[in-house]
């Protein structure tokens, strides 16, 4: 699966779609494939503050667990609570399944474009 060109990517395998002063955040195809079948998503609440590089939740699969790391700074304005009962959406359609929407308090920094992110993933395959 190719990584959409209109998104930005964090080295911790979250994607970001910037829409004006808001950002939508999800996890990448690489992330969901590495985790395997996702069975649980720990979600934050709307109104919570997120900081770039800091954990805002977690995902669990049958075999593993992983932190969700915010790629941006800001305040959460909406949470995709359909993931509570249907976390497998993250496996099936990682780029159509958002996790949080954030009102940005600063412009995103240090994120990669799709080409740079693909290189990053190649380096994680040993």
């Amino acid at each position: 699966m190719s990584n959409p060109a209109d998104l930005l990517y964090a080295d911790s395998h979250e994607w970001v779609k910037v829409e004006g002063d808001e950002a939508v955040v999800g996890i990448t195809h690489f992330a969901q494939e590495s985790l395997g079948d996702i069975t649980y998503v720990e979600l934050p609440a709307a109104g919570d503050t997120v900081s770039a590089g800091k954990e805002f939740g977690s995902v669990e699969s049958v075999k593993a667990a992983s932190d969700l790391v915010s790629p941006v700074n800001g305040e959460i304005t909406a949470v995709n609570d359909t993931l509570e009962n249907a976390p497998e959406q993250l496996n099936g359609k990682p780029y159509e399944t958002w996790i949080i929407r954030v009102k940005l308090s600063s412009a995103p920094e240090g994120l990669m474009n799709a080409a740079a992110y693909e290189e990053h993933c190649k380096n994680e395959h040993h």
């Binding site: 395997g36 079948d37 069975t39 649980y40 720990e42 977690s58 669990e60 049958v62 667990a65 509570e84």
Partner: protein, 360 residues
Amino acid sequence: MSELRTTPLTAWHAAHGAKMAPFAGWEMPIQYEGILVEHQHTREHAGLFDICHMGEFLIEGPGADAALSRAVSHNLATLKAGRCRYGFILNEQGNVLDDCIVYRFGDDNFMIVVNAACAAGDFATLRARLPESVSLKDVSDDTAKIDLQGPESLDVLEALTGENFHGLPYFGFVKTTWNGASLLVSRTGYTGELGFELYIPAASALAFWEALLKDARVKPVGLGARDTLRLEAGLPLYGHELDDRHNPAEAGMGRMMTSEADYVGRAGAGEIRQVLLGLELEGRRAARNGDPVLAGGKEVGVVTSGSFAPSLGKVIAFAWVDKAAADGVNFTIKAARAELAATRAELPFYKDGTARKKLA
């Protein structure tokens, strides 16, 4: 570090997109399509598992029956030829060195099937416990073990071999041939479903594996789903639910300890210090091996295995709990990211398995 060992099927797995990972010193397939799909396919149809990493030893010679009866916990006095039985190799204190299946071929002729991680130690233990007149031969390298499990496994196996296995009882086996290769068909398994453990010479393993997969009812299944299937079926995994600090009675296996032979560890095999409990958790977050178990705010045990159970739609776990707290119903599990509420559950967790189905 030493190289990972490979099975006759390792190259096939890699070529067919399996995610591979080290397991007990072997490079094994964890999943092909995905754990949930493979799990469900095994519950509904037939899953095929590469279990070649497990160890097989042949034990024979005059006095083998009596000598083996003293070396392992299995009650061989009531084990007929053509039947196999689950049991343990115990240490002197009665704790579990390994769990294993003993097959009786004849009066003084057996096969014992052991866990990969324990195989070298088991061989040394058995050699030390058996007299010189009894031969102990490790045939693991020459023996491929392939498990075919699921409600459609019988039909698949009969279609491939042209033979009738409806007469095989649970824990019964028969020796036959496939394409000129010797084949041992054992009606046993590790999934809770009707199924077979199949032993064939390593040289025939790949052809046999591919022949079974030609049947549309069969999918390859990795060790990931093998773990969720066995956990739902309430079956222990050595190194998790069984270890050399606990005895069979503590693991809930006391009733099967019917051997009257003077076997190693017999005296200590019944003392209860901790109890292995099945637990059901609230929510979808899993407890994992090593998570502390609390009751009344006090640590009373530890989780040995835990996972989301695909066939149950909830999280289940096994845990060792101190005897004094083991009659409790409600526990708290201190998982890595949260405290989880757990309730004691009856085993097996999954009760609709077809393993013991009457066939005749």
